[in-house]
């Protein structure tokens, strides 16, 4: 949700950086001001000093209070590409609020995380959907018809599964020119991920189709005269859905990480677009991690998101288990 309405939730654009504030640490959000008895959230401004190692040291400038307001005016963005709005959930006037710190160009990490979520999550979801649709259809047809077509298809599937996914992904990406536009790169990544992923689901669905096609209700469907296509679509594949749904949820993290890996290496989403992967690129090097640990937040987010999908997937698997008496 946050990702869809990214503009609303982010105080800043993903590419809006203020160099003056580069590598700023996360601002402490204060809620209680004893002196003035204010109970609204506020931050202090940043005071910058350069120490003898030419590092920038930030501290709070307690001279001025900048209240954090809700529904403030900020940069213009479009909802669904149609409505032009300029209200945001929260923000400050007069200074920058970096709730999760800033990166080397002074861009707000939180905002970039939110915009990045759009890209990383959508690539994951779209990639999975395409993979699974292809895999289920191929698996279903292969398993149902059997014979030489099934044999050939399965050998192809096995060959695809043999190649280590990650290297295949790199190879595919490298075979395209490095200077694609953002949109092209995005599209390319989705295609590559789908291409790698359909094989394993195809094999499982093919196994299920193979056993389902001998069940009596499938024979009955044949007996009343249904065409093969309708039998596969209406009787065989629906019985694989409970497995497929669980598999989908458990696979999405793989796709998200796949995209992150590509972007981390610079082969994926390019700057200035944000994706969790290319944000993590800035977290390389022990110096950066030691001095600006907040650059690791994208990693934390990936872990949390991955865990969420896994948990939902496992829960679904228990709910959809056909041996559950309650379900029957």
């Amino acid at each position: 949700m946050t990702a869809i309405f990214a503009g609303f939730f982010s105080p800043y654009r993903y590419d809006d950086g203020d160099i003056a504030y580069r590598w700023a640490p996360p601002a402490k959000l204060h809620f209680i001001n004893v002196q003035k008895k204010i109970f609204r959230p506020y931050v202090y401004g940043y005071k910058v000093k350069v120490d003898r190692y030419y590092r920038r040291v930030y501290s709070e400038d307690r001279s001025r209070i900048y209240p954090v307001k809700l529904f403030v005016k900020g940069f213009r963005y479009k909802i669904f590409g149609i409505f032009s709005v300029n209200r945001h959930l929260f923000g400050t006037q007069g200074t920058r609020i970096y709730l999760l710190g800033a990166d080397l160009k002074g861009r707000d990490i939180l905002s970039r995380l939110i915009y990045g979520a759009r890209i990383s999550l959508s690539i994951g979801l779209i990639g999975v959907t395409i993979s699974f649709v292809i895999g289920i259809i191929v698996g279903g047809i292969s398993g149902y018809f059997g014979g030489w077509a099934d044999n050939i298809t399965m050998r192809i599937v096995e060959m695809m599964m043999m190649v280590p996914g990650f290297y295949l992904m790199l190879a595919l990406r490298a075979s395209f020119p490095p200077d694609f536009s953002s949109a092209q790169v995005y599209f390319l990544i989705v295609v590559i991920l789908s291409f790698i992923g359909w094989a394993s689901i195809a094999r499982v669905i093919r196994g299920m189709a193979l056993s389902l096609k001998e069940r009596e209700f499938v024979l009955a469907a044949k007996a009343i005269g249904l065409s093969n296509f309708k039998i596969i679509m209406r009787h065989i594949l629906p019985h694989t859905f409970s497995y497929a749904v669980v598999a989908v949820f458990l696979s999405i993290p793989g796709y998200i990480i796949g995209e992150a890996a590509l972007s981390l290496l610079g082969l994926g989403i390019q700057e200035p677009q944000a994706s969790w992967g290319n944000m993590l690129a800035l977290a390389q090097g022990i110096v950066n991690i030691k001095l600006y640990p907040w650059v690791l937040t994208p990693g934390v987010i990936i872990v949390i998101t991955t865990s969420c999908f896994n948990i939902i997937g496992e829960a679904l698997r228990d709910v959809l288990d056909p041996k559950r008496k309650v379900f029957q």
């Binding site: 009596e216 024979l219 009955a220 469907a221 007996a223 009343i224 005269g225 249904l226 209406r234 629906p238």
Partner: protein
């Protein structure tokens, strides 16, 4: 008179380099408006025969004739066959898609051959459910919510809804209680007369076949060994295997007879009480009485 006939029908399977002759040169016929029965023990090929008749398998030899039309090449005659021959399976709750309600199952069947709106379909569906002894209350139930008898009635309604001429009944009551069996058998008899159907009744239960059949084929490992009208066959069973079956159905069979098939010659060799050297050669049909045929050298 014969609505379905097979001549020399063959269906072989290759399993692990062995050729299994499931149906090996079978001549049967299904008479119009009668109950033709096929009796045999497990593994004799009766279900394979039924599936080949329906075209689930392509025959490896011989011919199938339906209403005087040669339908051996099933692909070319798909809808012709499906409109005329239907089947009721053994296990009622397994032969209906567990994810479909009764209504949807029957609707789908109805729509195979004609485009009907849901309104029109509903009328026909309720009509056939009534014929099968069910009422509207089960329209939106799922198979697991039905009893065995009810599920079998739905199966019967589904088989009849497109007005076939022939219905193959593959052990339709073997999974049912005694009391339910009685009701289903009565229902089938009633429907046969009302809807002018011809039945092909497959079973291993001799006593049941004795009750329902008009004409009986006895099958043993892919071959017909004897066939005849019910009364004549029971009064005068001639083939050693038929006699064995009748003896067994009265629990009088004691000797250690082992099921199995001989490698060549008469299919009953090696188990036969009256075996002689000439049994190395496959026997031909002998018409002993009108309509009563035996496949044995020594009758």
């Amino acid at each position: 008179m014969n609505i379905v006939e097979t001549k020399g029908l063959k269906k072989y399977f290759k399993r692990k380099k062995q050729l299994i002759k499931a149906v090996d040169g079978v001549d049967i016929f299904i008479k119009k408006k009668q109950v033709t029965a096929l009796v045999g023990e497990s593994g004799c090929g009766k279900t394979t025969l039924a599936k080949t008749l329906l075209g689930f398998y392509n025959a490896d030899g011989g011919r199938i004739i339906l209403e005087d039309k040669d339908i051996t090449r099933i692909r070319e005659n798909y809808s012709f066959v499906r409109e005329r021959i239907q089947i009721v399976f053994q296990n009622p709750s397994l032969s209906i898609d567990p994810r479909y309600t009764v209504f949807r199952t029957l609707l789908e069947t109805l729509r195979v051959f004609k485009k009907v709106s849901i309104e029109m379909a509903k009328g026909t569906i309720i009509d056939f459910l009534n014929k099968a002894g069910l009422d509207e209350t089960c329209l939106y139930l799922y198979p697991h919510q039905l009893s065995g008898g009810q599920a079998q009635r739905v199966s019967i309604a589904r088989a009849l809804i497109n007005n076939p001429r022939v219905v193959i009944l593959d052990e339709p009551t073997s999974n049912l209680d005694v009391s339910t069996t009685v009701k289903i058998i009565d229902l089938l008899a009633e429907l046969k007369d009302k809807e002018s159907l011809s039945y092909f009744f497959i079973s291993h239960n001799l006593k049941l076949i004795a009750k329902v059949a008009d004409y009986i084929f006895v099958m043993y490992y892919g071959k017909i060994v004897e066939c005849g009208p019910k009364d004549i066959l029971y009064r005068n069973p001639l083939h050693p295997y038929t006699k064995l079956l009748i003896e067994a159905s009265e629990y009088k069979l004691k000797s250690a007879y082992i099921q199995g098939k001989s490698k060549e010659g008469c299919v009953f060799r090696g188990r036969c009480a009256i075996e002689k050297p000439h049994c190395e050669v496959e026997p031909e049909a002998k018409e002993v009485e009108p309509g009563h045929f035996v496949f044995c050298h020594y009758i």
